[in-house]
């Protein structure tokens, strides 16, 4: 899966979970400050990413994901690793 597809699918998940307008979602957007994610929605986001991409996200690593761009980076890197 190329990076632009990852980005597109991340944006779709973000819009769905946070219920925000797609126009607002940019790579530099902070989930809380720019998109208004509440604490419960952060958990929902991680679960939705895992389902969308068929990956498992480590809790500590997931906590470090603060922006849409870092989520794309993290997921793209996870997809390139050999599946267990």
């Amino acid at each position: 899966m190329d990076r632009s597809e990852v980005e597109q699918r991340v944006n779709k998940v973000v819009c769905h979970v946070l219920n925000v307008d797609p126009e607002l979602v940019k790579p530099e957007c902070h989930f809380v400050f720019d998109l208004g994610a509440e604490s419960i929605q952060s958990v929902q986001l991680v679960a939705a990413f895992e389902a969308e991409f068929g990956i498992e996200m480590d809790n500590d690593a997931a906590l470090k994901i603060k922006t849409v761009g870092t989520a794309v980076d993290f997921i793209a890197a996870s997809l390139q690793q050999p599946q267990k």
Partner: protein, 720 residues
Amino acid sequence: MTMTANQPARSCAPASPAARRPLDFIFSPRSAVVVGANASPGTVPYDIFHNMLISGYRGTLYPVAPGKANICAVKAYRYVTDVPDSADLAVIVFPAEVVERALEQCGQMGIRSAIIVSAGFREAGPEGFEREQRVKAICRRYDISLIGPNCLGVINTDPSVRLNASFARKMPEAGRIAFLSQSGALCTAVLDYARDKSIGFSKFVSFGNKAGIGEADLLDYLHHDDQTDVILLYLEEITDGRALVETARRVTRGPNAKPILAIKSGRTAEGAHAAASHTGSLAGEDVICDDLFRDAGIIRVNSIEELFNAAIMYAYQPMPVGDRLAIVTNAGGPGVMATDAAVRAGLSISRFAPSTTAKLKAALPAAANIQNPVDVIGDARADRYMAALDAVLADGGVDEVLVILTPQSMTDIEQIAAGICQVHDQATKPIACSFMGATDVVPGVRMLQEAHIPHYILPEWACRAMADVQKIRQWRQDRLWRSEPIAVDHGTAKAILDRSGEGYLREDEALGVLKAYGLPVPPHRLCKDADEAVECAAEIGYPVVLRAVSRQIIHKSEAKAVALNLIDANSLRRAYDQMRGHIAAVMPQATIDGMLVRGMIPAGHELIIGAKRDPSFGPIVMFGLGGIYVEIFKDVTFGLAPLGRPAAGCMMRRVRASQLLEGIRGGAAADLAGIEQCLVRVSQLIADFDRIAEIDVNPLIAGPAGVGNAVADVRIRLRA
């Protein structure tokens, strides 16, 4: 409430254009922005916005909620910078990790005040501490007055403002009491408690971590708040004790004086860690707090119950002109218990005028007690209560009245409550009630509470509250705590201190500093050898004292580095040689700077005057019974340096041993004025020189009046 969707919540005319103080922007904002609001009821970001909306806020309200079109039907903005107005106040409810970004935007928008409700700062460990430091820096850069972080928020019940910027469940009733609390959780409990007792508030502030505005700023603000009569304070830690004391003195005295009642929790001994000096080890934080709060006019209480018991007594009743209490009761036992409690609390029991007892005799049955406490007898109904109440209130020797009721089968509780309410409306003297019980008395109690007549379940609590109000009255009558200028040789003291490094001053230098500040230092000289010591002793006159001077020897008697009552040259030489030999044998590492020869001091009371630089209160002084007893009895008091003479005298009278000084059982009185002077001068010394960390004058020998006082030993420790 009528609300148009997607419009600012409310708008009203701006408040008076008169110069506004920084805290006006917090308590009376003309417009406010809630930064980080969301649409999920039951969460702090939602509840705060919702509370502000439904409390009837008179200003304009803007939610900042990224990704949301509106919150509670009010148009929302993505960023603070999108809000089409520069608000007075930002209430920040974002998670801690983005608070700095939000605050920065507030600064850019010219917002002058902020309440950061969010947790995750200093209280959450090193990372949170650093975050709080960055928040402080942003506030300094943009001149933002900050409440919080980690707090419940702020409530102002002023009808012209109606601000509930908190996540408390309900807006309290308006009242004349301001409540300030470092604990947010306690605030909600207090609001619930107060609602049950019909207690209203003027301002209600949870100030959390105090990264910006602290207790002293709030007290200063409330001093000038015309909605507030009494201030209640719950503190866990004191940010700047000196500022607190100095502000409290202004607030509690003079024109527009308002009492401050405080709970300072954490009564532990942690602050009194082991220290080399007596002053250090005796000066535990809690002990200092007790004394310095008292000196500031702050009434320190031990529980929330006592806090409100006293507050309603003060806020709802006129200030009594004296402390003479009359008790009216329908039960002998509780009357006697109340009498005991009143006397224990420091109140006086009135003695009625003959005209009063005559009135009581005429109105009450023969079995009634017409002396104080007036017992109207168990079968009394409202008519007897009213007759007794009228009689005692009219007595010129009665300053305040306590009405006690126990519910007998014939007691018409509600009629009695109604009668008391009627009398209370006309009365110029304070009235408190204690309707004892938990079920039958409830309707009557409710009537009293609604009429703002202080009610207490137990008469003892009523007496305690009345006694707390007496403390407020007496404090206002005391002389002002001014420190008058005193004549000292500042230059000589400075010269000695300037040439000394960190650590303890050499004994002769310490004595020189005290002498320069006018303390009674006996004649002395540091001698290099036995011949010089003998020569010095001849000048001073025998008998003399010999003391080895060494920075390594802190406790001289334990090191046998002191010899007393040396009556001639031979005994002096012998003592000199023995002392040098002993020290060389047991403390070979000690450097002897010389041997101090000093005149003998006549016997007297051993006192301690200490001083230290407290991290919170700054320079403070200590006074108490000294010598070897100081560590055992801990009979010491503290005061803020510099002291005036009235304050010094007050400190002296507070120690239990002061009776010894005044002369008991035929003993001669000490030179009290001289001791007072010593205390004033030591307090001036530590206040004048920032380098002095600690002073221990221990003992100061207090001789009888006419003989005078003398410094027998002193240690002064310097900072780097």
